[in-house]
Amino acid sequence: MLNWANFISQLFNGLVLGALLALISSGLTIIYGTLGVLNLAHGAMFMLGGYAGWFAYAHTGSFVVAVICGSLFVMIVGVVMERVVIRHFYDRPDEDQLLVTFGLGIVFVEAVRFAFGSLSKTVLAPEALAGITSLGFMFYPTYRLALLGIVVAALLALYAVLYKTRLGLMVRAGIEDARMVEALGINIQTVFVIVFGIGAMAAGFAGIVNAPVVSIAPDVGEGILVQTFVVVVIGGVGSFGGAVLGGLVAGEIISLTSMFNPAYAYVMLFVAMTLVLVLRPRGLLGAAGRE
């Protein structure tokens, strides 16, 4: 029997989860689209954002400072990672790229575990956003409502950068055909490092704004990584719009299936991914013929 209050609540849960997945996935997808590197350390970037933010939060008590520090730190990690390691792998086989990013992910996670231990760390939401809000059909944690707004704002900012700036034009051109962009006299290396920095920052930002919801631990990025892959496959590789749509689809599938039988939530997610792969291999919004 369908309980309408529960149904609408779950739709809403799916929206919040989906927006978060969309933000993380958009970082993953623009990196993969532009550089051709599937960054398996993306989940670790999400985790690092949480820890850098928590560290700043523990020393300043300010959530805003935590968000800024978390995002910037991961952006810097991303830039350094691209300059020092990843760029040596552009011409190497895919499996080398997968192994090196997977390895870096393990190093990041274990370094954090070594420094801070496995006990989870809590970042409290700002005072004004603590507590519960009545939405009429249900009570909802105020911070989760705010999180939806924060993530949507971040996605809009990312959209503006990608679609309204000259830099974004270069990035999008790079996703379509990096070699041609280089032939036009644009320094593709610079584009690469910027893309990697932005992509990493998206994950880091998501990591710290999500910390008041899910307290952080070294393994926090592991599950997220799997979900974001599914989102990218559903939405279409290299497509920003696809990441957003894929995120929302994935969020809603998980939430609505949970309403009937939570044990099948992830099964249904993978069923959806399989359907997309069979019926529309390039993803919902992926361009045909893109590698």
């Binding site: 529960n6 849960n13 989860l17 393990i106 989870s120 919801v213 307290s215 939430s255 309403m259 939530a265």
Partner: protein, 458 residues
């Protein structure tokens, strides 16, 4: 993730020793067999008493015997695995030095076990059955371990039960709450000494019915594997059968879930009075923190049927205040049991904090194993198993206990605790009040009720 670590002698040295041991073992057995034929009246050489089995006698021929531990050091149970490991390390230290606490539990242990030092090799299981089995297989091949341990997930415990039976190496279960571990998946070669779903349910059930009344509505949160399903069933059976409670919803989540909003939304709409949270490790921490965010706590009463080490420390005493939990051990039991006092003091001195139940359980199972080996006077696995199966009563940190021969489950008390108010806490680790220590005998099902059929000795 392939990040298991080994803490012992370097790999190459280990390997060389293992090879030379096995060669010598073959020679000894050969010599003994020949000698036995020529001179039947001579006293038989030790190694020739029985044909080799598992890692015996190769594993017990050198100056040290090794135990292989596969504990989760990453993943959702990492915090609990690390604590468990500390208990094991302390026990090994105490066995090797003949600490007074070991002497109380295992009087025949003196500076080592049967004249040998005990060593521990460790790998990360990440609470995954296949990783645990692979690690133990490596330890058997390379270290000729005489016993293995480490679960912290019943899925791992059940897998290692079967593996122990196949390899004929004794397995000390460590933390495992599933009824199946000494039920349908029990093993001749495995021994569990912690509490489990059925005993937890029968211990905490009466307290819940008495405190909250009859006819309540309960929402269950269940991790999706053998531990979760069997604990939820036992607790629900008790509450429906003896308190007239109803299960209004059962939210089953995969191990390692981070966002519980969907599950909590279902519970919010279920009309439950009580949340029975069977989740464990980090899953429990996150689900409780998020239940608070959704305002379900304190609106609904929280119950923890299978206590999670460090839960109160991680979620904060504000959230565990008034919460009932069933557990194996809590450090304030030192006021009641002299051995508990010795254990808590020794642990605190070495590690600087009060041990949680996982560490206590890990320590005790090594101490008990040392007792059984020293009583058997041999590392020959069937002899050790038969010593366990005698069911003799021995002292522990929670009073006198004994093993049940039919399913290899320790008959032991279950401890009911209730979360203290933050203002009532004396010191920063005084999270729980011990409400009751329920004797074990009456809590247990009949040995065959969960389908246990032990396998062969050889």
């Amino acid at each position: 993730m392939p990040n298991s670590r080994q803490v012992d002698v370097p790999y190459s040295a280990n390997k060389q020793r293992a090879i030379s041991l096995s060669r010598r073992g073959v020679l000894q057995v050969g010599a003994a067999v020949v000698g036995g034929m020529v001179l039947p009246a001579m006293p038989r050489v030790f190694a020739a008493d029985h044909p080799p089995i598992g890692t015996w006698p190769a594993g017990a021929e050198g100056p040290t015997v090794t135990i292989g531990a596969s504990v989760p050091r990453t993943g959702p149970y990492a915090v609990q695995g690390e604590d468990e490991l500390k208990g094991m390390q302390l026990a090994v230290e105490h066995i090797n030095s003949g600490h007074p606490l070991i002497s109380k539990i295992a009087p025949k242990v003196q500076n080592g076990l049967l004249g040998k030092q005990v060593a521990l090799v460790v790998a990360d299981s990440a609470a995954k059955p296949n990783e645990a089995v692979q690690a133990q297989q490596r330890f058997i091949n390379e270290n000729k371990i005489v016993a293995m341990t480490g679960a912290t997930s019943s899925a791992v415990a059940v897998a290692l039960n079967k593996f122990a039976e196949r390899e004929k190496v004794i397995y000390l279960v460590a933390i495992s709450g599933s009824n199946d571990t000494t039920g349908k998946d029990c093993s001749r070669y495995s021994f569990r000494q912690c509490f489990y779903g059925e005993t937890a349910a029968n211990a905490i059930g009466p307290v819940l019915v008495k405190t909250f009344g009859k006819g309540k509505k309960a929402a269950f949160m269940t991790p999706d594997y053998t531990y979760g399903h069997t604990v939820t069933k036992s607790v629900n059976d008790y509450l429906t059968g003896n308190g007239g409670w109803t299960m209004v919803t059962n939210q089953v989540s995969p191990l390692g879930t981070q966002d519980f909003s969907q599950y909590l939304t279902n519970i919010a709409n279920s009309g439950a009075d009580v949340i029975v949270n069977v989740n464990w490790g980090r899953d429990a921490v996150l689900s409780i923190q998020q239940a608070k965010q959704f305002g379900l706590i304190p609106r609904m009463k929280l119950v923890i049927p299978y206590q999670i080490p460090f839960l109160a420390k991680e979620v904060g005493p504000e959230l565990t205040e008034g919460v009932f939990a069933a557990t194996d051990f809590w450090w304030t039991l030192q006021d009641k049991f002299p051995l508990a006092k010795m254990f808590v003091e020794a642990f605190d001195k070495k590690y600087g904090y009060k041990p949680e139940w996982g560490a206590n359980n890990a320590y005790m199972q090594f101490a008990v194993w040392a007792r059984m080996v020293s009583e058997a006077g041999s590392f020959y696995p069937p002899d050790i198993i038969r010593t366990y199966e005698k069911g003799e009563t021995f002292p522990s940190t929670v009073g006198d206990v004994h093993f049940r021969a039919a399913d290899h489950q320790l008959v032991r008390p279950v401890v009911i605790v209730r979360g203290k108010q933050p203002s009532q806490m004396q010191g920063d680790q005084d999270y729980w009040d011990v409400v009751e220590v329920v004797p074990g005998e009456s809590l247990m099902q009949k040995p065959d009720a969960f389908g246990c059929h032990l396998g062969d000795y050889t």
